[in-house]
């Protein structure tokens, strides 16, 4: 890599001194001489001071700029390119060694970017289009500005790191407590409350207050940082769950029969009898909805700002006792005893989605703060992490010895599972990645079985409620280090809280807006747009926006007339059609559906299919050479020239590649392909298709006695001497047999359609 000399130090001593004697010292108003060699001094310095102020030569500056970029590959974002570095030279001749605005890391910009740049702008009128482009540019500018403001964030996230390669799970709480400062150590405490049975707990949204309720009626709320008790009561009834409402001043307690709301003095404010036998509570802070799951199987949404029940949904799945909310879109996730998790919104009577998660019942569900991952654990002792971005597929699975009864995500994506009296925490690679279940990050054993778990927001603290009371654990790296003062401020004063409360109530999001994609509101409502357009056409009797059909001008002479242009274009189009058709080679079954099955279940060592010398080039109906690219694309493989690189086909062992193509109208049912997990190269599909097609031909040629509708002679002049069906299957495991219908592979059930 080229390194540019730093400004001020770029003066090679000897050579230039000779020049110095010859040349007159350059004044700052004089034109700078263009240097001949890189690294040479621009001009003889008059004195040392001048030398230090000496600007870089333009060439050097350019190199410097480039090298800066290449050194930090994550910093190529340059909002404004300075085309001409000399132009910013000041009066003194000094040049800014870092011209232009400071570079911004791309991934940070990406975090703030709300638009998808990869998506093409819709086809629209010029005016709309320019407006969209302006909006996009503004958006980018804004995200860059926001990314710059990251610099002002005061706090760094916590972390825990064992001595070189040591497992952090071996580090116990006492070690952490010893190691950290006294203020952090004070955050670790145990409340031994054995008398009132297993505890549920909840932190307020600011993370400053803690409420807990024991099964035997003990309810308390405290400022856990200063350890100031706010209230402590015994409700003389079983407490199933406890939850702070929007602020720490209100507290919802699910008691044995009804739902009660207390204030922070412990005074009962409401008894909500429409929510009876509530087992779990969730509060949606931006909607001011208290979601309750009850034994009766109802999911009830209570608007706590007006005291009305917004929706009571019958989940039709028996007793509900597994619930969590998706903080990203306020969708409620319920876990059921039949192993499914269902996603609910108050606007819909039916679940938004149902995910079959486990073979047994679902014991716990948790969703991370970005709404990307859902962790579930079931009676089958499995812990799974699902992707919620449309696929709802499990990303990782782990079997736990006892199975997790409680799950929770932290703000920075740590996953905690309570298994019996043990708490296990997993961490991922950074904030946006799912926690990897390979190795726990921390483990801790409690004095009783876990009954409730929650990470404290904005703190590296995990609160665990168990039969023996409450334990506040230290989990470095759990909490978001920098809070937003206008959103939830742990240090807010009473006035600030009141002001926030008013503002939050003013912008209470209606319950109807809860849906899977919270940004859906910003999308263009295409359906009603088209409906409106249709209605307008109906009303007016004509389409006011319709373009008149193109009428070529009746020009008589000249080749460049519009009509002949159109004619020529049409010709070209026809040719393109012909090109596409040429794959319907002679004698191939035209009507047979195209499916080529690749079976990933037989790992084999060979990576290639034996193919003999290059075949003669087949010719198509249109007279073109039959894809000479096949021959060209065949690459030398370790087995010699006759081997097709089959590894290339098995690019992604897990993914199902569906590719509709009209090209090879042949069907081979089962093509066992050796899989190699190391192969990660994804090959362009056309190439894949070409190769497989060729093989298919080969197969047909060989097995033509199986297929009546394919005559061997018309199969194409590709007499590739493949071995017998069995031989291929046995030794090379590449092509097993060919059938005219797509039948899923017998051994693994997967059929890959190409």
């Amino acid at each position: 890599m080229e390194t540019a000399p730093k400004p001020g130090k770029d003066v090679p001593p000897k050579k230039d001194k000779l020049q110095t004697k010859r040349k007159k010292p350059r004044r700052y108003w004089e034109e700078e001489t263009v240097p001949t060699t890189a690294g040479a001094s621009p001009g003889p310095p008059r004195n040392k001071k001048n030398r230090e102020l000496r600007p870089q030569r333009p060439k050097n500056a350019y190199i410097l700029k480039k090298s800066r970029i290449s050194k930090k590959p994550q910093v190529p974002k340059k909002p404004r390119e300075w085309k001409n570095p000399e132009s910013q030279r000041g009066l003194s001749g000094a040049q800014d060694p870092f011209p232009g605005p400071a570079p911004v890391p791309v991934e940070v910009v990406q975090k703030f970017c709300r638009i998808d740049k990869s998506r093409k702008l819709p086809h629209s009128k010029a005016k709309t289009r320019s407006r969209l482009e302006v909006a996009e540019a503004e958006e980018e500018e804004t995200s860059i500005k926001a990314a710059r403001s990251e610099l002002l964030l005061a706090e760094e996230p916590g972390f825990l790191e064992g001595e070189d390669g040591e497992d952090t799970a071996k580090i116990c709480q006492a070690d952490i407590v010893e190691a950290v400062d006294i203020a952090s150590a004070a955050k670790h405490f145990d409340l031994n409350l054995r008398q009132f049975g297993p505890y549920r707990l909840n932190y307020s949204r600011t993370g400053r207050h803690l409420a807990f309720g024991g099964r035997r009626g003990h309810v308390a709320a405290l400022d856990w940082v200063t350890k100031k008790l706010m209230c402590e009561i015994n409700v003389m009834e079983a407490v199933r769950d406890i939850r702070f409402l929007h602020s720490e001043a209100l507290l919802a307690v699910a008691q044995n029969r009804w739902l009660h709301i207390y204030d922070n003095q412990g005074i009962e404010l409401h008894c909500i009898r429409r929510c009876d036998r509530v087992t779990r509570l969730e509060f949606l802070p931006f909607h001011f909805l208290l979601a309750t799951a009850s034994e009766t199987g109802f999911l009830t949404y209570l608007d706590v700002s007006v005291g009305k029940i917004v929706a009571a949904l019958n989940a039709r799945a028996g007793r509900l006792d597994v619930m969590s909310q998706n903080p990203y879109n306020a969708v409620i996730h319920l876990g059921h005893s039949n192993g499914t998790a269902s996603l609910w919104s108050p606007a819909m009577k039916e679940p938004l989605a149902k995910i079959l998660c486990h073979r047994g019942g679902v014991r716990a569900v948790a969703v991370d703060s970005t709404g990307t991952y859902m962790a579930t654990s079931g009676l089958d002792h499995q812990l799974k992490i699902f992707d919620l971005r449309g696929t709802y597929q499990p990303l990782s699975t782990r079997t736990l010895p006892h199975g997790a009864g409680h799950l929770a995500f932290s703000q920075r994506g740590l996953l905690v599972a309570g298994m019996g009296d043990v708490v296990n925490i997993w961490a991922g690679q950074g904030k946006a990645s799912p926690p990897s279940l390979e190795q726990p990050y921390l483990t801790h054993r409690l004095s009783g079985p876990v009954h409730g778990l929650q990470f404290c927001p904005f703190e590296d603290v995990l609160g665990v409620g168990h039969t023996g009371g409450i334990t506040s654990m230290l989990v470095p790296g759990a909490g978001e280090p920098n809070f937003d003062g206008l959103e939830s401020n742990p240090y807010r004063s009473r006035k600030q809280r009141q002001e926030w409360e008013v503002k939050a109530l003013l912008e209470k999001v209606p319950a109807e807006l809860i849906c899977l994609d919270p940004r859906a509101l910003a999308e263009v409502d295409v359906i009603s747009l088209e409906q409106g357009k249709k209605e307008q056409i109906e009303r007016l009797g004509y389409d006011p926006q319709a373009k008149a059909p193109f009428q070529p001008k009746p020009k008589q002479k000249g080749r460049s007339s519009t009509a002949s242009l159109v004619k020529r274009k049409r010709k070209v189009m026809d040719e393109e059609h012909r090109v596409n058709e040429h794959w319907h080679g002679p004698g191939l079954p035209q009507a047979a559906p195209s499916c080529l099955c690749l079976c990933p279940c037989q790992p084999a060592t060979s990576h290639s299919v034996p193919v003999s010398s290059p075949s003669p080039v087949p010719r198509t109906r249109s007279g073109r050479a039959f894809s000479s690219s096949i021959i060209r694309r065949r690459r030398p493989s370790p087995r010699g020239p006759g081997h097709l690189p089959w590894t290339d086909l098995c690019a992604e062992p897990d993914s199902r590649v569906a590719w509709e193509q009209s090209l090879p109208k042949i069907t081979c049912r089962e093509m066992s392909v050796p899989w190699n997990k190391e192969v990660g190269a994804v090959w362009p599909l056309p190439q894949l298709g070409v190769d497989s097609c060729l093989l298919g031909w080969v197969g047909i040629k060989e097995e033509s006695d199986f297929l009546d509708n394919v005559s061997g002679s018309s199969c194409g002049p590709v007499p590739l001497p493949l071995a017998k069906h069995e031989a291929i299957l046995g030794s090379e495991g590449s092509v097993s047999c060919l059938y005219p219908h797509p039948i899923p592979c017998g051994c693994c059930g997967l059929s890959f359609a190409f």
Binding site: L160, T168, E178, V180, T443, P476
Partner: protein, 597 residues
């Protein structure tokens, strides 16, 4: 284990745990310090009830093992009775870092808890603090040696200094640290939508456009003129020949002139603001000084020109000492002469108004009662071109920012914005009035204009929209004859039949007066939100809602029905004719009869 990633590992907070028994092989489990509180209580000599939460908190009352690598810690307190009881109080500097922890670690536990005895006397609670548990049986892949770790680890916990987040004194502003990470601001779109909805509602709540009514005229106000230099000065001419000069800030009349016999047909100020011209039904053009006469002097015009015909309008050149009048013909006058330097006519009808172009100052436009709009170039003796519309145009007004754009107020309830380079199709047809439009005036920004109508209302139209954004009316306002937009683009004046001049805000919900920076920021933010969500049906409905007087409302309904019927008929004609035989004429082209050059 890749947590934390290498770039996040900072050497700043690497704590070396103290050597000694903590790390030793023989490090035993820490005995629960359950007895602490009870023994303490016993020592103080009285039995007291301790609430569970309170007593549980006492676990913290003993000093914590602190981050001091050099000092031997209290950790060996765990042991089979072989604990070191000498507990070292934390150092002063460490105490200062005791953010949020129990403030007095050496406070006897009993004292605090005794002061707070609640109804739920739950007995004593066991306290286990920093208990070490080792367990290996849970995970097969983590097989640990039973020996203790003699290793070092790096740990950093979030530990905020409250001083950085709380204001120092009550005189300071509260500190509000911001983090713009979208993950901390969920539901961005729905919340913005609700904010936009609230802003729109508030806009309607605060929409109080009417400011003042200037009364004093003894007949209907026929014409208005702005002072070119003083924002507060306005001139008005009435139907009884009276001209009044008003001060808008004091909202009173500062001067009254009986200028003409009969109507004051037109009034205009000189570009320098020292004098103004009036024309009246008495066939005279009079020039007046802007300042009143001295004490004891007669109110007399500077000049009076006696013409042969009635003048119906007057406008002054924007830069030179030239003015134009209209009547039977358009006359261009030099201020120094008593005869017009040029007279132009095209057709034989009376011309109702003439206007100079403010940018291309030699251009004029006039509208005549034979339904046409004629454009003139002052430098040549003949008119440029004219466009003939369906009905008569009452006034035109040039766009002050775009030289070639003008808007015509038409008798057919519409306004037409023309590009003078292509008169065959108006750029926009502005429809909302339900009666003849009598006057129009542009905002100095050139983005909007205001129109006065015979339907007793004034409307504000954006130049590029066919529908009005605002309608102003009051119970007492009669047919509005003249309207002006003030030069600071903030106010609108209209003179009406019932002898009053009314002052309106151009932006109905605008707050007058000086705004603080926060107010300004909030206003801008709300404005942007309203703009962003303006097309959402709920917001659009609220933003568009106007209360209208019954006469206008019923007129709108009636005209809608009429228009619908006409359109239906047209559609039917198209439907039942041979395709292409009935041409489809757009609304813009419908009203233009011809363009003559």
């Amino acid at each position: 284990m890749q947590w934390p990633p290498p770039w996040r590992r900072s050497p700043l907070v690497s704590a070396t745990p103290p050597p000694g028994p903590t790390r030793g092989l023989l490090c035993p489990r820490r005995v629960s310090e359950a007895g602490d509180s009870s023994t303490e209580g016993a020592r103080t000599g009285h039995r007291h009830y301790v609430t569970p939460a309170e007593s549980a908190m006492e676990g913290r009352s003993q000093p914590l093992p602190s981050l001091r690598p050099a000092s031997p810690t209290n950790a060996p307190a765990h042991g089979r009775g072989s604990d070191c009881t000498a507990k070292e109080p934390p150092l002063a500097n460490v105490c200062r870092q005791n953010y949020g922890a129990a403030q007095d670690p050496v406070e006897p536990a009993g004292r605090r808890s005794a002061s707070h005895v609640t109804g739920s006397s739950l007995g004593k609670a066991e306290v286990a603090c920093g208990r070490r548990w080792r367990w290996a049986e849970l995970l097969a892949d983590t097989s640990w040696s039973p020996a203790g770790r003699a290793t070092e680890m790096k740990v950093k916990m979030l530990s905020r200094n409250p001083d950085n987040y709380v204001r120092e004194t009550k005189l300071d502003l509260q500190r509000v640290p911001r983090n713009y990470d979208p993950a901390l601001h969920p539901f961005e779109v729905p919340r913005e939508y609700i904010r936009a909805l609230n802003a729109t509602k508030l806009e309607r709540v605060f929409a109080k456009p009417f400011l003042a009514s200037l009364d004093g005229h003894r007949d209907g106000v026929n014409c208005l003129a702005k002072h070119p230099e003083k924002l507060a000065t306005v001139l008005s001419g009435a139907c009884d020949g009276e001209v009044r000069i008003w001060n808008l800030t004091q909202r009173n009349c500062i001067r009254t002139i009986q200028a003409h016999e009969g109507f004051v047909r037109g009034i205009c100020t000189r570009f320098c603001g020292t004098s103004f011209f009036t024309v009246g039904d008495d066939k005279t053009v009079k020039q007046w000084k802007m300042d009143g006469p001295g004490y004891g002097d007669e109110e007399e015009p500077l000049h009076t020109i006696l013409g042969k015909t009635v003048y119906t309008g007057i406008d002054h050149h924007w830069k030179e000492a030239v003015f134009a009048t209209c009547g039977q013909q358009v006359d261009i006058w030099d201020e120094q002469r008593t005869n017009p330097i040029c007279s132009m006519t095209w057709g034989f009808d009376s011309i109702s108004s003439v206007k100079f172009n403010p940018i291309e100052t030699f251009l004029l436009g006039s509208c005549a009662s034979d339904r046409n709009i004629v454009l003139y170039d002052m430098r040549q003796a003949t008119p440029l071109k004219k466009v003939i519309l369906d009905m008569r145009t009452n006034t035109i007004c040039w766009n002050p920012m775009e030289a070639f754009i003008f808007t015509a107020a038409n008798e057919d309830y519409n306004l037409y914005t023309f590009d003078m380079r292509a008169l065959d199709t108006p750029v926009m047809v502005h429809m909302d009035h339900v009666s003849a439009v009598l006057d129009v005036d542009y905002s100095p920004t050139g983005k909007e204009f205001v129109s006065a109508s015979f339907d007793k209302s004034i409307r504000i139209f954006p130049v590029d929209k066919s529908r009005s954004r605002e309608v102003y009316h009051t119970k007492r306002m009669q047919h509005v004859i003249c309207v002006k937009w003030t030069s600071d683009s903030k106010y609108i004046m209209c003179g009406s039949d019932e002898m009053n001049i009314r002052l309106w805000k151009a932006n109905a919900s605008e707050k007058l007066g000086v705004l603080t920076s926060r107010e300004k920021a909030a206003k801008d933010y709300n404005q942007k939100l309203k703009e962003k969500f303006q097309h959402y049906p709920h917001i659009k409905r609220i933003a568009r809602h106007r209360h209208l007087p019954k006469s206008i409302y019923s007129q709108i309904q009636e005209q809608r029905i009429m228009k619908e019927a006409r359109r239906r008929k047209e559609v039917n004609r198209i439907k039942h004719s041979k395709p292409g035989s009935v041409p489809l004429v757009s609304e813009k082209k419908k009203h233009v009869v011809a363009v003559v050059k």
